[in-house]
């Protein structure tokens, strides 16, 4: 179980060591001390290992993650798990802007709040935020699920494609082409799975409202040809 103290080891050496891990490594649980808000911590891992960061991380933490589980016992800066492909990223504190941006797969869990543009352009990742999310979240989001136990800021889901958005609290306003939709049994099933995966207990899927694309912006209608 490697322990890396960033007061002693450079971040570059840490990331290089994580990148060099083979798929069958025995070093499966890493502890990182003294992150002090450093950027790009545990970014670009491609191995089924667990990396636990004790403290606050900076920008792009666990970016491009594949297979790994990254746990942050603190807050993260801009772009946590951006472009994640698979695996799991769990932030115990708050996340700054653009959490899970462009991510293709995996699960991002944020115990606190996420600020502006959470899930911007998400492409298949599942994001569960136990607090609230900031304005312009899920902007141009294409696939995957965004689950919010608290409230959502202005312009939620602006120019949305096929991401499903579930919000339990209040939505300040919906962005262009984002509408509320019925919460059907199949959606409650998806929600139940995601809540369970995120370790959320005592909250029923029926407490959420579902939002999605009206599909008026991104589909070409010949009747609207003059508008293009």
């Amino acid at each position: 179980m490697p322990h890396v103290d960033l007061a002693v080891t450079s971040k570059r050496d840490l990331n290089a060591a994580l990148h060099a891990l083979p798929a069958n490594t025995n070093e499966t649980h890493w502890h990182i001390a003294n992150p002090e808000g450093a950027h790009a911590l545990a970014a670009g891992i491609n191995a089924p290992v667990t990396v636990e960061i004790d403290g606050h991380a900076g920008y792009y933490c666990a970016g491009m993650n594949s297979q790994a589980t990254v746990i942050v016992n603190g807050n993260v800066g801009v772009g946590v798990a951006e472009n994640m492909m698979s695996g799991r990223v769990h932030v115990k504190g708050d996340a700054s802007q653009a959490a899970g941006a462009t991510a293709h797969g995996g699960l991002l869990v944020i115990d606190g709040n996420a600020s502006a543009r959470c899930g911007i352009s998400m492409k298949g990742v599942d994001i569960v935020v136990k607090g609230s999310i900031g304005p312009m979240s899920a902007f141009m989001a294409q696939a995957g699920n965004l689950v919010v136990l608290g409230d959502a800021g202005e312009a939620l889901g602006d120019s949305l494609y096929e991401t499903r958005i579930f919000v339990r609290g209040a939505v300040k306003s919906l962005g262009a082409d984002c509408i509320e939709k019925d919460l059907r049994p199949e959606h409650e099933e998806i929600l139940a799975k995601l809540l369970s995966a995120a370790g959320v207990e005592g909250i029923s899927p029926s407490e959420f409202r579902r939002y999605g694309s009206a599909r008026g912006l991104y589909n070409f209608h010949v009747d609207n040809a003059s508008a293009y």
Binding site: E36, G37, A38, H56, G58, Y59, N75, G77, V78, G93, D94, S96, Q97, S115, A116, G134, P135, M136
Partner: protein, 291 residues
Amino acid sequence: MCGIVGLFLKDPALEPELGRLLTDMLVVMTSRGPDSAGFAVYGTGDAQHLKVTLRGPRLDEVADALAGIAVAQRRDTHLVLTFARDAEDRVRGWLALNRPDLVVTGTGRRIELYKDIGLPRAVADRFALPAMRGTHGIGHTRMATESAVTTDGAHPFSTGHDQCLVHNGSLSNHRSLRRRLEHEGLGFTTDNDSEVAAGYISWRLREGDSLTAALEAGLDDLDGFYTFVIGTENGFAVMRDPISCKPAVMAETDRYVAFGSEYRALAGLPGIETARIFEPEPARAYVWERN
């Protein structure tokens, strides 16, 4: 890109440490702005005296010539003159007549304002920032994108007594706003967009706005990207544009309120482990004032 830091102390016991803490914060932000750096520190002062920070060459001549009127403290390329309020006309008159080449970087009861090109570490050491004491201070590290790397382009900008502003971002309507403010009687010494933002806040305060109201008025009148940190004689404020284009993180404890462009800048503060750490919301004025 630029880096901003700010520290507003609630606990007077930390006042001797202000300069040292601000230096460490500024140096961490070198990666966001290695071209130049500047800072304003609110130190001692009283209602009967005025402080003027000057920048330029041959400062010892100024100190000698005004020896009977003003107490002078030289720090590298800057000179702080402290004099009785009723001597203001004489000091300004002498400067206008004899040394129009000098730049006034800040004026007020308590503000001292220093800026120069170079790495933040070098700038802080040149002016002996680590040893400065005070109640609050703000600093800036600049990576020039819109204009040349000059001392004139470095932040903070001060456009009113004990007022100063640092800016990360860029404004697109600063030329028209400058003309409007010039009609209102404000003067500007550089072509910098951030100086216009500072002037705008000074103008609103002059017209009777509270600091909060001045910042909220800016939401309508300032077009562009900005995170501002503002200092007044007794206050400290933060404002981000409505789409929060530029980064910001804050920490608050019983002893201080701190601002950083990135959390890294706050990581060395005392008691940060238990501080309330939060990201200021877009389009919301955050103001702290001491009585």
